[in-house]
Symmetry: C2
Amino acid sequence: MRLLLIGATGTIGSIVHEELKEDAEIITAGIDQADLLVDMTSTESITQMYKQTGTVDAVINTAGIEHYGLLQEMTPEQNQIAVQSKLLGQINLVLLGMDTLSDNGSFTLTTGILMDDPIVKGASAAMANGGIRAFVQTAALELPRGLRINHVSPSILEASVEKNGAMFQGFEPVSAKRVGLAYRKSIMGAQTGKGFYVY
Amino acid sequence: MRLLLIGATGTIGSIVHEELKEDAEIITAGIDQADLLVDMTSTESITQMYKQTGTVDAVINTAGIEHYGLLQEMTPEQNQIAVQSKLLGQINLVLLGMDTLSDNGSFTLTTGILMDDPIVKGASAAMANGGIRAFVQTAALELPRGLRINHVSPSILEASVEKNGAMFQGFEPVSAKRVGLAYRKSIMGAQTGKGFYVY
């Protein structure tokens, strides 16, 4: 099994790598420190990445950035950060990547709890996540050759509490193991069009 | 009561206008045939519109376009149609319009059933609607001065069956009256952060 893991050096990407490294050959991609360099906000860069991967059995994206800020201070330009990265970056990985997947291969995208359990400063992140969830549900109807697509929606990770916990008051941090299992289920299982919620 | 209704001449906009015309002064806005001309894909145009409205008690958007097409044929550029219009157009009406609303005023945005009940060719529309739903839920936490925000999510309208019914197989068409009431509830009621689903 060959997997393409975008965002492999990030917090979640590292978890996915650890979870699956014994079961698959993992090609890593990211803005640095990866087998393949890719800027997910650029369709040209995504296309270039796929030209180098060869056929893979799963594309997993754990990358994507978002602006966290007060609604009253947020500019349309700041909102574009999540639009170009977490929202359109992930969608373009699908639109441009279908031919790279082997029959019955899968896409696994990443959303997050803020679309279900909102916090102050989280409007832009919630937007991107909610958009991906709805996209995934529809895309699953149309993918050819038995291809599948799901998203994993984690709550705040235990490893992120020290850095980001103040914004996530009262959220129950989730373990790396639980997050890794959700990606494993999406990649190795048979379901499609689903969200795997690690809440 | 003074309302700003963007998309007033469209199918849903006309319904909202009919529903509320006895109860409010309605300033219409749109790409043509309106009191104020606005291109919701342009932040400059939105800002210019708000400069001309004076203070209003509600901003209602029923405008926004989307590309309907097969996922396998959809280009990133085609997906941008809904991103710039239905998704970011609506969000920018909020980001740039807070100061235009009177205390306790409201925003009412428009989503749609495809984020909950997907159809072939509907991935881009679903994405935009799902993004707006999540944005609304978070924005409601942060709006100042008692401002409210909701979205109305209609199914296919009876009036649209002749034109679009073939894509919406098995969907129960909804009456103009039900759709109008949902907007009335959002504008005249007290709830915030909600979706009013006309399914």
